[in-house]
Chain length 328, copies 2
């Protein structure tokens, strides 16, 4: 198995002008789960171990795997500017450490760097991979815009929400799987199974993220509990609550949502989080959302049965189960 962290470290950013490349190096050195390139390489390994093609195919998938990771980090860089986020992975964000213009320009260059890596995909596979990569990148931008639109939308359905997180989170995981498998020689049916696996673990992952924001253990979750409740974020919990509540609970929920809470006002923030959580508890929102998440995990696992069974398939099975039971 290729060591993805070593491959990322081996990328060369020691180029001029330093003002452009230093923030890229800084961003990529900040760690993270490396989930996307791991998925791409595991998909390639799964197909190769299935005996369809020789082992070089895993190496051939590496440039695309790296492109996906660089692209993902580009989205974080620009998202942090747009969200005015000051900290990412325990370090200052680029727009804080440098400035907004640096974050915009180095982010743009990072997106271009992703396409540079992509240009090392074997020539016969390049047209499809480029097309899919573009579809994936478009999905991310559309999902980001929908997320912004939801802030001001008076009503958001579960269906709207699932569509948004599919674009914002899942397509990147889905295309990571498809691209990795395709480069290793996967046939159409296998590509589709790989894609659907990525899609469903992405949905499960995002739903679990929403649940942990309310019900996570503060000790293991790594950030403050209730952040989404605080700012009325239209998570699957809030949407489910608004959709299933009786008139009285709904009125109470809307009452809490009218209450703006600032970081300074610790007491009223605490009250709002407790108040909304109590409504969620009463309505059985947690169970309802966990059911949707588990359904997504099952759908992901079912895809794996349609693929060659080997070491890599087993790791993907474990990954899907781990994501569904994670605490942070």
């Amino acid at each position: 198995m290729i060591d993805i962290n070593k491959a990322i470290e081996a990328l060369n950013w020691d180029k001029e002008p330093r003002g452009l490349y230093e923030p890229i190096e800084y961003t990529l050195a900040s760690g993270g789960k490396r989930l996307r390139p791991t998925l791409a390489l595991t998909a390639a390994e799964l197909i190769v171990n299935g005996g369809l093609i020789n082992g070089d195919a895993i190496d051939q998938a590496l440039p695309a795997a790296l492109a996906l990771e660089v692209f993902h980090n580009f989205t974080l860089l620009h998202d942090d500017v747009m969200d005015r986020a000051a900290v990412r992975r325990g370090r200052e964000t680029v727009h804080v450490k440098w400035n907004d213009n640096t974050a915009i320009l180095s982010g743009d260059q990072m997106l271009i760097e992703a396409y540079k890596l992509l240009s090392d995909v074997p020539a016969d596979k390049l047209p499809k991979v480029l097309k899919w990569f573009n579809e994936m990148a478009t999905g991310i931008c559309e999902g980001q815009q929908l997320d912004v639109d939801f802030e001001h939308a008076s009503q958001v359905s579960i269906e709207d929400y699932m569509h948004m997180i599919e674009l914002k989170t899942s397509v990147l995981l889905a295309y990571a799987m498809r691209i990795g498998g395709y480069i290793a020689g996967a046939n159409e049916a296998q590509q589709e199974a790989l894609y659907q696996y990525g899609l469903h673990i992405g949905l499960a992952f995002q739903i679990q993220d929403d649940i942990l924001d309310v019900y996570g253990d503060p000790k293991t979750f790594g950030k403050a509990i209730g952040g989404d409740i605080c700012c009325n974020k239209k998570t699957i919990l809030l949407i489910t609550a608004l959709e299933t509540a009786d008139a009285e609970s709904k009125a109470e929920l809307l009452q809490w949502m009218m209450k703006q809470c600032t970081k300074e006002d610790v007491q009223s923030t605490k009250e709002k989080i407790e108040g909304v959580t109590a409504i969620y508890d009463r309505l059985g929102v947690r169970k309802a959302c966990e059911d949707i998440m588990e359904q997504q995990t099952s759908l992901a696992l079912a895809q794996l049965d349609r693929l060659p069974q080997n070491n890599a398939t087993e790791r993907l099975r474990e990954l899907a189960e781990k994501l569904a039971t994670r605490k942070s």
Copy 2:
């Protein structure tokens, strides 16, 4: 000849979410010279008329030509955020009409749209075209960063300046020529001549831009004269003046540069522009810069002699001469 404006109008932006695509449609509808796609298509026509390949090759160059125009407009969109520019081509910029976040996200999507157009390049030509497009895009970002760095640099040489404008302006024109020609079947030597033509007209164009900012006719120039002098921009005129001035003139020039002038203070702005222009006149800066520009125009024209001679070659000859004598 393909009507480039019609081809740009035919691009479909009637997609959801509107918040993402409307600013892209708005940006591309604001006109401009369409210089880059025109160069790409003219290069293709030159090669085809040279009898090397059939006429479909011009159509085949269209997606890449459009990709270059969409890319160019993406750079303007993000540059306007970074420069806090309020007006572009007589209309509000995107970050003013919408907001900064919209300009960042729709700009990102525009960059992705450029690569989407590029994915329609014939598959056998795609690997090289993608590689060149990435090199071009990297050049633009590096050039933009160097331009920012120059603001704070104590000394900038003519060589530094030429390197910066080569990256910031010329590589896009150069690669437009090379890519258009390559898709139409140009051989290596022809590709190189096309590339060099684009490079040298780009340099001539940028130098002329600097000259017009001081010596243009306010009636035809379209913007206020002396804007660069006002903010001490390190143009080729200022760099030439600082390099060639005797001690006394240099001291006088530095004196003027210390004088900050704001838009409100019309009188002191006028004095600074007149003062610096007088030094330029005394040192013969205009002539020196015009010589460099004409040298670049000659280098561009010389490339055309190495290419098939036809209608398209003639139009490129006229373009190079027109750029060198333009008044706006």
